[in-house]
Amino acid sequence: MKYKYILYISLLGLLFACEPELDDFEPSQGNADFSVYVALGNSLTAGYADGSLYRSSQLNSFPSILAEQFKKAGGGDFVQPLMDGEYGIMPGKLKLDYKTDCTDETSVGPVPDNGTLDAIAPLGYTVNNLGVPGAKSFHLLAQGYGDFAGIQLGTANPYYARFASSSISTVVGDAITQQPTFYTLWVGNNDVLGYAAGGGTGDTITGEATFTFMMNTIVQSLNATGAKGVIAGLPDMLKSPYFAFMDTQVPFNGLVLTRQGQVDSLNFAYAQLGITFDLGQNPFIVEDAVTHFPRQMKESDIFLLTLPTDSLKCYYMGSAIPIPHKYILDETEANNVNTFIGIYNNVIQGLAAQYDLAYIDMFDMMSDLENGITNDGITITDEFVTGNAFSLDGIHLTPIGYAHVANMFIEGINNKYNSNLPKVSFAQYPSVILP
């Protein structure tokens, strides 16, 4: 009798003694077909970060993240032109470490991260990630842009040369021969960034007519294959740390004179230009963009991340020596940059509508970052280093930043093509590595 009841209770226990279960997420491709995906674009598509394109940054490129999600909904293999090492093919990679400035003050900041570079050699296989660091819109259509012979001459790009199918191939052509079913296109940043990053010196902005024609040709060619796709606009670039950080560190009137002797000699030196100095704070002396004469810095001038701060602190840059204009973006130049971002984004959005593509609005991402974007308790912001969205070069993104971009693409694709791709979590991606 007793055993019967014990048995009864145990049986009931066994009946229900399994773990709770939740249904799985059900991915679907909707009206899209992800079986052959190609990614076209520049350094942001390639996965560039910390001033370099290196193996682990490529593995966290947004197209690579996206392709992993595509695989859950019929996507195929996604081949990237992976480096062997962590230093890329060109010097310039940065890492965070302690550094001591000319006043013997030690702080943590980006310093060169030197190591053995990858050789610039042809890979010999076809890649799905056709992102080429440095590429402007028209470069994607330029024959010879991947020609080894042209690298020295500056007519070819070593990143493209690694995977170009021939010396006369084009990036768009190499995409089309793969008969893609789906593509992402995010290009145009360098058409204005080259100008902006050099303080308006050294490079020019691609004109509206050229940009419109090139973009039209690219999209038309890709569309002719029958592939569906997604096209992204330009971010509000001047809010990135490359343009915004230094201004928070060094005020425009950060030239502090403490002795009358300093004031007198500077007054003497700049008397002809009508510039006078006082004890205390003075605007720095900078090279004017147009006249190339020294002038006082204005509050509207923007210091770039490249500003050599040691020269300002210890070696008379900004006072006896004007700050070269390549470290400064003045108001006119900043307006040019913003005007063209607006023009390009109109063109890109227009193409998305014309060719019925998903459009990703990257412009507002910067204001979202200003307020902070939180996912899984991890907040990324537009702050340099601590914001965790931007890598150490201040323009390109961290793996978490690229994960956010991938989520923006996923959202856009799901909305446009009625697909159901799972998003990724910030918690699964590394952030800026502190020493």
Binding site: K2, L12, D376, G377, V385, G387
Partner: protein, 398 residues
Amino acid sequence: MLLFLFVVSNLFAGGYQVRLQGQKQTGIGLIGTPFALGGSSIFYNPGALSFMKENYSFSAGVSGIMATAVFRQKDSDYKAKTDNSLSTPFYFYGAVKVIDDLSVGVGVFTPFGSSTTWDSDWNGRKSIQDISLSAIFIQPTVSYKIGDKFGIGAGLDIVIGSVDLTKELPTPVDGQMNLDGSSTALGFNVGAYFKPNDELSIGIDYRSKVNMKVDDGDFKTTDVPSSVTFIPETGNFSAELPLPANLDFGIAYQVSEKFLLAAELNIIFWSVYDSLIIDFKQNNEDFADSRNPREYSNSFIPRLGAEYKISDTFIARAGIYYDKTPTNEDYFSPETVSLDQIAFTLGLSIMPVEGLSIDLSYLQLEGLESDKKYTPDNFEGTYKTRAFIPGLGISYNF
């Protein structure tokens, strides 16, 4: 005492309350207020203690909680599952009838606790990796019978609590933070019991809020990069965790000689749990106190139970109840996965000799699948929970 050999840590059962303080009561839907079952009245209703039939009453018991929570992230194929260790809430009661109308006793029990272990690298690790809360109540109690039909009682609760939790440091820093603290606090338990005739019994009980205040807890951080000098490696913190007051009404009716029905309503004053504030003693601009909104609401638990006397040796019990989550829509933290729950219970008492009862119980809690969000972390997804709780107890009256 032998009982302290058991691991003291528990589970979620509506917030972090667990009411497994008597196996007979557990078997009948965790209803206890309208019963005079000897020593265990110390917890369920001190007013009923003076109705103990024999001169001495001792009981002890333990339950084993096997609980699992599963999670699927919103818009994602990411899933996670807790790997909780077995929790074993226990009780011990001893009571003596001093004179006919006056009984005194003492109880040691664990009505609150929570133990949740997620993978240390799971997506919610900024909220919680693992947590264990426990509280041991020691309650000396006195009960007085007024006439034949009415009893009142009161007890003083001396509460020893501890908390141990690990989670990741807030962004932008990686690395872990472990908090470990303990606390002692006081509370009380008062009850009244009314038995107008042989068939009917009614009880009411109020257990006060107990404010567990950790004053000098230890925190330590690990895996913090050396350049992050603003986060101390070790230090102290203070925090408060309120154990809410309970107001219980219960009624039991002996339908026939063999068959009894009972019902109870618990009101749990969860609204005292407004936020979890961890006040670090070593503070700076970049390492601020941790303020985590919880904003719990008061909740009601209706319970139904039945008892059937099979023979002089066997009594079987069963019960059901519905426990609505006290958590807030915007602040559902994975540290306490408290969902709306439906529970059923089974119980069996075996009385081989006069005065001795071996009590078995089984409780199964089904946390209903639900979408929940912790807004400050933008951490959202679907949760579901299930717990199996077998229990064993013994009581001896003489």
